[in-house]
Structure formats: C-alpha cells, structure tokens
C-alpha cells in the first residue's frame, strides 16, 4: 500500500477541524496575552538598564525550562490557585486544558518579544529622539510617532519568532488536557502510527508558516504605510480564528468525556469505552494523551468523567503508600480511600498492566532463570533498561531491597524501544509492562516475583464524583468489567503497535469488543500469584 493511499490520512483529516481549531485558539490567545504583557514591559524597561536585565534574565530562564515541563508545571500551579480562590472568594475555575496551556505558552512567547522590543527601541539613533523632543513632541508622541515606528521591523521579527515558537510548543499542551495538533503526535508516537505523527508535524508547520507570513504582511504594511497590506494580514489572522471557531460551535459538545493517558493501551481502552457508551445512547468523546499526574486531578475536578487507571499506580501516587498488600486487600483499601474523595472505583477490567522484569525466553531458559530470585546471581554482569521513571519509582527500590539486585549498568529508554533492545541483546533485562504486546512478539518472558515486591496493577475503571450516581453510565460500562484478560490485552496492544490502518486505536477497540463482547461468560476467576510484575510507564 502506498503511503498516500493509506486510509489513516483520511482518519487524521477527520480530526483536523477539532485539533487545528483548538490549536489555533490556544496559540493565538497565548500570543495575544504574551504581547499584551511583553510590549508594555519592553517600553517601560527600555530606559531602565537594571529592570531591563532582570526582565530579560527572567524571560531567558523561562525559555530554558523545556516546553513540556513548563506546561506541566502550570497545571498544579493553577490547581493551587483554584483552591485558593475557592476558599477565599467561593469561586473556582478549571485548571485543566485551555487556561494552563495559554498561560504557559504566553510566558514562553515573552523572551523574543521582550528582547526584540528592547533591542529595537534601544537601537534608535539618540539624535532622532532628541529631534522628536526638539520639534515639540511629548514623551508619548515621541514613542508613538518616532520610536515605535522605527523599532517596528525589529519588534515584528520578535513577534514572528514568538508566534512560530508558540505554535510549535502548543503541540505539547495535549498532556495537560488542551486538545491541539499535538494529539496527532502523542497518539501517533504511542501507537506507532507514523501517518499521525507526520500529519501533526506537517499541520503545525504549515500553521506556523501561515501565521508567520500573515504577520510579515502586517509588518511590511505598517512599514510601508500600506493600509491594504496591513488589512489583508489582519483579516487573514481574523479569518483563521473565525474559521477555527465555526466547526467547534457547530459541533454539539458530548456530555461524557473519557480520559486517556499517553500510551497505546489507554487509547484503545478509551475508544472501547466511548463506543460502548455511544452504543447505549450516551454521547461520549475521548480526551487522550493526558499526563498521568493531570488525569487523576482532572477526574477529581470533573473535567473528565471517567478513565482507566491501575491500582498500584494510585496506591503509590495518590495514597502515597510504600507498603505492598495482596491484590484483593489493596483494591478494597483503595476503593475506600477513593470513595472519600467521591471517586467511584467501578471495577476491574480483568488484566494487570504491571512492571515486570523481562528477558528473552531462550536466554532465560539457557540460564535457568524463571524468577527474579534466579536472576540475582547473574545481575553483576547484566545491564537493565527501564522507562524514564522506573528507576526513581518505589517499585524499583522495593525490588532491589527484596532481592538485592545489583546490575552492572542501568539505562533509560523510550518504552517502545526497550523490547527491541532486550530482544537484540543490547541490554540483558528490561523493566517492561505485563500487558505489552511486544512481549509475545519478541518471544520474551516475564520473570516471577515470588516475594511480591511489586504491588498489583489491576486496570480499574474510575468515575468522576459527579457521575457517582449515574446509573445509565454504570450500566453501559458493566459489560466491560472482568472481561479483558492479560492475553487479550497483550494481543490488542500488539495490534495497536502495528503500523497500518488496522492498528488505529479505534480499529483495535472494535476488534477488542468483537473478542470480549461476544463472550457470554465472564473470565474464570484468576488464581493469585500469577508470576509477573506490573505496571507501565508515563504513569507517574
């Protein structure tokens, strides 16, 4: 199949009005806010060297914070602000999505606007400023009639740089709940859907170039005092905003939002849940690619209505527990703790997505390794790889403590590449995820955890406080509970990691329903101590 006839282009295109519209709105709002703050600051600071250097230093520091981190930081910051306003003034606001994204991006846009603004204004020949005074201009007239027009080309260059940066960085606002062209990129990277990745990159590049050119038109218009050019540029920007508003106004907003974290399994399950709900006549949509620290808060605040999490993740991250309990006990305790926050733990899906030490089957057999206890003797000559957070998670500390693991080397890797790395012998062991389809694909084996050092990670369905008594919703979801076993989920995940039209989350969700929905009986009750360890990355 040629690249161009791939049906995923069509699927990508169908999301464009939504993603692009949100992207344009958040970028332009952020840019406008950034300009409203930065331009006056540049003007005020132009003759104050101390204020100027302090301001530029601050803006530079903001720039050194990676975009993803800056956006992520705004979420807890706003949550805090929202709780403060709630307790002081009795009003709260959503710290999810648009607001944190806009504020973080506005901050991000400030450096080029400030620097070029100040450089432009300071670069004006002092003789001309004196001439402006000499012909009888007030300070304000000198600013508007002489200084700003002369600094305009340099200032506009800064504004254009800021616009391109903001539009590019806005793709990173997906994890904090702001839909953007980043939805293509995050979804595409996680499900190995390179068509989506490419589409998202192209769309944001085209948008950045278009806005840059329109701003350029305004710039030459202002410089050559051509009202026509300025007007065309301004109208172009206005038309862009208007065009992105139309589809979102026309679209009726769904009443239920299903959240999903940033990995393939979550994309598939959220699609499955959405389809189930729509089947029963509930209008539902997905909000995917949410950061794992964001998604729970979003549920608590009611910004999303439901999502799938994993028991061990909540145990460690929300309950801040480091002790490890048997499955059933942990679930009961977790359910009670969540109930205190009015969150409903509706039930388990039937599989676990836990961290597990994984190695090639043949090598394990050759060395006679079946459990982590068998591995210990070999670790001084072995290397281990984990995702970006594994080695700082309590599971790793618990594993090392319980078994006395001492690997020769440890490396961090993008989760999708770990399995290939261990299969090829690049590393000896990886901390993989039990539900990952690549375990089967590369003929790997998960090692038993006889000491139960790692907590259980049952996939559980959580409902927002406002949905606690929603019987229609719960009835729609019940058929999914206890239906998805680990083998099925692995196969689904393996399908989702393929790079073809059948591997889109929607297609895999349909396949999954075909497979589990037809089953009349529930899965057999699971035995305990199934020897594998749990969890999944990005789940911090």
């Amino acid at each position: 199949m040629s690249l161009l006839s791939d049906p995923r282009w069509g699927e990508a295109l169908s999301h464009l009005p939504d993603y692009l519209g949100n992207h344009v709105r958040v970028s332009l709002a952020a840019l406008a806010l950034g300009l409203i703050i930065s331009l006056p600051l540049a003007i005020v600071c132009r003759n104050r060297p101390v204020a100027r250097s302090v301001l530029l230093a601050l803006a530079s520091i903001v720039q050194t914070v990676p975009g993803l981190a800056l956006l992520a930081l705004f979420y807890p910051l706003l949550l805090l602000a929202a709780s403060v306003t709630l307790s002081w003034f009795g009003v709260s606001f959503s710290a999810f999505g648009f607001l944190p994204a806009m504020l973080a991006l506005a901050l991000y846009s400030m450096l080029p606007v400030l620097r070029n603004g100040i450089t432009g204004l300071n670069g004006i020949d002092p003789a001309l400023i004196e001439a402006a005074q000499g012909v009888g201009m007030t300070a304000r007239q000198s600013l508007t009639m002489v200084e700003l027009p002369l600094a305009l080309p340099v200032m506009m260059a800064g504004i254009r740089t800021a616009a391109v940066w903001v539009i590019g960085t806005a793709t990173l606002s997906t994890p904090i709940g702001q839909t953007s062209l980043g939805n293509y990129i995050f979804a595409g990277l996680q499900t190995q859907n390179w068509v989506f990745v490419l589409f998202g990159c192209l769309a944001s590049a085209v948008l950045a170039l278009l806005v840059d050119q329109l701003l350029g038109l305004i710039e030459t218009g202002l410089r050559q005092r051509s009202r026509a050019r300025t007007a065309i540029g301004g109208l172009g920007i206005a038309a862009l905003v208007a065009a992105t508003l139309v589809p979102s106004l026309a679209r009726s907003s769904a009443s239920y939002v299903v959240g999903a974290k940033t990995f393939a399994e979550q994309y598939v399950l959220s699609s499955l849940i959405r389809d189930r709900m729509q089947e029963t006549g509930l209008s539902a949509t997905t909000r995917s690619g949410l950061g794992s620290s964001v998604i729970f808060e979003a549920l608590k605040a009611g910004d999303i209505d439901l999502y799938i999490d994993y028991s061990g993740t909540l145990w460690a991250n929300q309950l801040h527990r480091t002790d490890i309990k048997p499955r059933a006990e942990l679930l009961t305790e977790l359910k009670a703790a969540l109930a205190k926050e009015n969150i409903t733990l509706l039930g388990e899906l039937g599989f676990e997505n836990a961290y597990a030490l994984v190695m090639p089957r043949k090598r394990a057999e050759a060395l006679g390794i079946r459990s982590i206890a068998d591995l210990v003797a070999h670790t001084p000559t072995m290397s281990i790889a984990g995702d970006y957070e594994f080695f700082s998670r309590p599971e790793w500390a618990a594993l090392r403590g319980a078994y006395g693991l001492a690997f020769r080397a440890q490396r961090q890797m993008q989760p999708d590449f770990m399995y290939a790395a261990v299969a090829s012998g690049e590393v000896d062991v990886i901390a993989g995820y039990t539900s990952d389809g690549l375990i089967a694909k590369y003929d790997l084996v998960t090692l038993d955890d006889p000491k139960h050092a790692i907590p259980p990670y049952d996939a559980i369905l959580l409902l927002a406080p406002k949905r606690a008594d929603d019987e229609r919703l719960q009835a729609a979801l019940k058929p999914l509970l206890g239906k998805i076993d680990i083998a099925t989920m692995r196969e689904a995940n393996l399908r989702a990691s393929g790079n073809d039209a059948n591997s889109s989350p929607d297609a895999v969700a349909r396949w999954l329903w075909e497979k589990v929905g037809k089953k009349v009986t529930s899965l057999r009750p699971r035995t305990t101590a199934r020897g594998s360890i749990r969890h999944r990355s990005e789940d911090g």
Partner: protein, 255 residues
C-alpha cells in the same frame, strides 16, 4: 529676545556651561563659536530645555523658560539639528509639517504651508514633497531641516552646527539663503558653529566660548578689540587662511 543670566550646567564632574550671561536682541543673528567641549551646544539646548539648567535664569520672549511647559516652549522655537535630524520613516512633507501637526493645525492648511516652505528653502515641490529623507542629498536634507524649523512660524530659530557636514559650495549657498530668510522673516537666530569664517560671514554678533565660559561677545570689529589671546587667535584664523589662499591662487583669473 533671549537672555541668559549666570547660567550653569554640570554633567557629573564636567562643567559644561560655567556662569554664562548673554543677551540676544530681537532680530539679531548670533553665532556662538567654540571648539568641541566648549559648551556651545549645551548652551543652545538649555534654551529650549532639551537640557535643564542647574543654575541661573534663561528667558525667551520675556518668559522664564523654567516656568513654562517645555513642550509648548519647543513648539514655538525652531530648531535645526546637526545633520538634519529628519525622521527617516516620514516623507519630506510629513517631516516639515510635524510641528503644525502637533499643534493641531488642519491637514490642508499644513499641506499649503509645506509647499510654501519648500519654495522658501528652494526645493522643488513636486519633486521632493513625497520623498523619504534617505533619497535626498545632504544639502537637501538640511534645507528640509530648516523648513521644518520654520513650519510653525517661530520667531526664534536655534541652529546646532547646521551646515557643518556639507560640502563647501552647498554650505555657502545654504548659509546665504538662510541669512536671507532670517532677514525676510524677521527671525532671531542663534547658530552654533566651530567655524569662525562662517560666523563672521553670517552673524551680526559673535559669542566665543571655551571650557564652558563665555570669553567674549560682540561684532567682529568689537571682538578684534578683545584682550583674550584665544579670541584673537580665532579671529586671525580666517584672515590667515585667506592670505595663504591668495598666495597659492593666481591673482587674476576665474578663482
């Protein structure tokens, strides 16, 4: 018309203008001559409060400049800057019409005034009106500078080395033209220059400054009576140059 009484201005530890007392009569053309760092430009800028004096009093048309709004003051005094000081983003017409515009003069009235001024400074209306300053020669730029200074019909014009950067022919023509305008319009002019020859040729009276102090003032003839060696040396320079020129050029012929 303009009077300075014990005026002083210090920048940090440098005394730029040191206790200067000087009167300029209505209709007079005064040249202030001095080397660089003599304080002559500072004295000029104190007049329309581009710089504020530390001590002493300056009056313009009877008003103590310290007591009037500096912006209004500047709008009623024409000011010609060293190399034109034209705004590069404005056309010739907009440059000339800037002060009337600031004063709220209606556009058509300003347009007519601009044409009148272009005639006055001998620039072709049609050809120069809409040009940007970058498209003008140095002499044309300075003519526009003069026209801009005159636009709001000031009675006083301050000139800061207006012809210094021009070639000799242009400089000569422009000096003569300005002197004629000064007479025709009944202006009071203070011109800063480092060139004694230019001062003698154009001004009614000359003030000589050195290290912030006013050394001497008077007509060229009166200055010749000065006892100050620096003043006499300055005065002798033009004549010595003429003597040298005469010696080097044939006595008869075109030159």
């Amino acid at each position: 018309m303009i009077s300075y009484t014990h005026v002083a201005k210090t920048f940090g530890r440098v005394v730029a203008v040191d206790d200067v007392t000087l009167d300029i009569a209505e209709g007079e053309f005064l040249a202030v001559v001095g080397g660089s760092g003599s304080g002559k430009t500072t004295l000029l800028r104190l007049t329309n409060r581009l710089i504020e004096a530390d001590r002493g009093t300056i009056t313009v048309e009877g008003d103590d400049v310290g007591q009037v709004d500096p912006v209004a003051l500047r709008r009623r005094i024409g000011y010609v800057f060293q190399s034109g000081g034209l705004f590069p983003h404005l056309s010739v017409a907009d440059n000339i019409g800037i002060t009337p515009k600031l004063l709220g003069t209606p556009g058509d009235e300003t347009a007519a005034r601009v044409d009148e001024l272009l005639d006055l400074v001998r620039l072709d209306r049609g050809e120069h009106r809409d040009r940007l300053p970058a498209a003008l020669s140095g002499g044309q730029r300075q003519r526009v500078g003069v026209a801009r200074a005159l636009a709001a019909r000031p009675r006083i014009v301050l000139m800061d080395e207006p012809f210094g950067a021009l070639d000799p022919l242009t400089r000569d023509a422009l000096g003569d033209d300005y002197r004629e305008l000064h007479r025709k319009l009944g202006l009071t002019t203070v011109m800063i220059t480092h060139d004694m020859t230019e001062a003698i040729l154009l001004a009614d009276r000359i003030a000589v400054m050195r290290a912030g102090k006013l050394l001497a003032q008077g007509t060229p003839a009166e200055l010749a009576e000065s006892s100050d060696a620096y003043v006499l040396e300055l005065l002798r320079t033009p004549r010595r140059q003429v003597a040298r020129l005469n010696a080097r050029l044939p006595q008869d012929g075109a030159a």
